[in-house]
Symmetry: C2
Subunit: 299 residues, 2 copies
């Protein structure tokens, strides 16, 4: 019961501090040129759960004995902008051609394709602008810059995963292809959310190794459950077009391994992830609660 209360608080306060930071960091809708700022805000404030920023905060708390380091909400907001840029471009007609995201019209449906392409570009740019103003030592900023840019690039990063996903649409998914896509497309950014939060809070080399292993396992568990939900829920429950992955023969975990085995894989990965956090005792409770939530959520 106490754990449930704690989780609810973590999720709610995580959304609040992230949204306040995003509100401050995104140019106002009145700023010229207004259309692109409207488009950026449309997608950033479309009701996202802010899971990546929350991973940033809880990883930092794990390292900082339960405290939230000053200014870390800007790091959380920067990573959320990066995630939103990838969703806007993924939804474009030339890619997944999705009209609905989190129950709202996607960016290109609301603002046209040209502005949606540029709004995605601008959110990536604003991510890096935000990183350049973080309140941590410059060498930590540069290390975070390296991690985030690698995790979103073409070589085992987010864009690489999007390409593999696109190219795999017309061939039968294999265990190898589905693992490679998951690791790159979603896993990499979840993993660096954890590691960047830790670095901001002063992680040592050994801490970084543990957080990296935790982030890799928890990130994969999250993506597996995302695929399971896509297969087992309807569009209304998900707030996006359901079953699209199946329809387009995309490489998903349950398509290759089955729904039950997928659920078991996710649960096993979360337990392995927890083991990495043992040295931090109670200070890791928040991070564990989030990881548990990732595999137990129903939408």
């Amino acid at each position: 019961m106490q754990a449930e209360m704690q989780l609810k608080d973590i999720l709610q306060s995580g959304v609040e501090i992230t949204d306040r930071a995003l509100e401050r960091l995104l140019p106002p809708i009145t700023q010229v040129p207004a259309s692109i700022h409207g488009a950026m805000r449309h997608s950033v404030f479309a009701g996202g759960k802010r899971l990546r920023p929350i991973l940033v905060y809880e990883a930092a708390r794990t390292l900082a004995k339960g405290e939230l380091p000053h200014g870390i909400e800007d790091l959380g907001a920067a990573i959320e902008m990066l995630h939103t840029y990838s969703l806007i471009h993924d939804d474009l007609p030339a890619l997944d051609n999705d009209d609905l995201r989190r129950g709202k019209p996607t960016c290109h449906v609301a603002y046209g394709e040209a502005i949606a392409i540029l709004a995605g570009d601008a959110l990536q740019t604003l991510t890096y602008q935000t990183l350049s103003a973080l309140s941590c030592p410059a060498r930590v900023t540069v290390e975070i810059l390296r991690l985030i840019s690698e995790a979103t690039g073409t070589v085992e990063g987010m864009i690489g995963g999007q390409v593999l996903d696109l190219e795999g649409e017309h061939s039968k998914p294999t265990p190898e292809s589905v693992r490679a896509i998951h690791r790159a497309k979603t896993g990499a950014l979840l993993r660096v959310s954890v590691v960047a939060g830790g670095l901001y809070a002063g992680a040592t080399h050994h801490d970084t190794i543990r957080l990296t292993a935790f982030g890799r396992k928890a990130g994969l568990a999250f993506q597996i459950m995302d695929d399971v939900l896509d297969m087992t829920q309807n569009s209304e429950q998900l707030g996006k077009t359901a079953g699209k992955d199946m329809a387009s023969d995309k490489a998903t975990w349950p398509a290759v391994f089955g729904v039950e085995a997928s659920r078991n894989d996710a649960a096993r990965l979360i337990n392995e992830a927890f083991a990495e956090l043992e040295p931090y005792g109670d200070h890791a409770d928040g991070l564990k609660a989030i990881a548990q939530y990732l595999v137990e959520r129903t939408h």
Copy 2:
């Protein structure tokens, strides 16, 4: 005669060191996923003049008494990647819908729209990954990160200029609109090329103010002459579709001020830019030669 030789050397060696750095920094075409690496290389190695990297190098030489600081070619290459990403996205069907760039098929014509969108995204990402590994002190890297991300953003930066340009296509250009678009769309990145090169070479606050003023004026002169060439040359001479700006009623300098006044404006701006470089004596000769070249080129 000596000045002409110097200019030829600067241009040629600038292309060579930039291309060597780009060859090393871009993933090989054999790296999975191969399609996106092919697309990135297609556009990066399409015969660009490397003017922005050359501005980086000559600004650094101005500050470093004629020497080229170790590792600066990675900064030049990073800025060239950013420029190439903006060209790839600008050429997309939803934006300028251009089939030809530097005499070659544009990225989406050669690789399809989905891969072109992601290749542009990936070049922006690789820019920041490259900045994270620069061989200068971390605080200088963070300052360069801030300048470059601001100059390519939506508020008086490159993306903001693209949006103003798009939205202005169906209304008559005014002197105010054409100045705002030029300052943002092309001017900002040219200006920070100069300033970033100076910072890498150890520029003081006073140096930075001078280089910023130089970069602003020389950048505007460059864009004015680009518009004049678009109006007065044919497609074969330009290596891209000529007259498109006129045909779409885009806000160009000669359309608003006339061709002769535009040429005079560019020449006056270059002279004002030169005045900023007086304290550096002969060490600024290379930077001046490039600025002169920008307004005298014929294609």
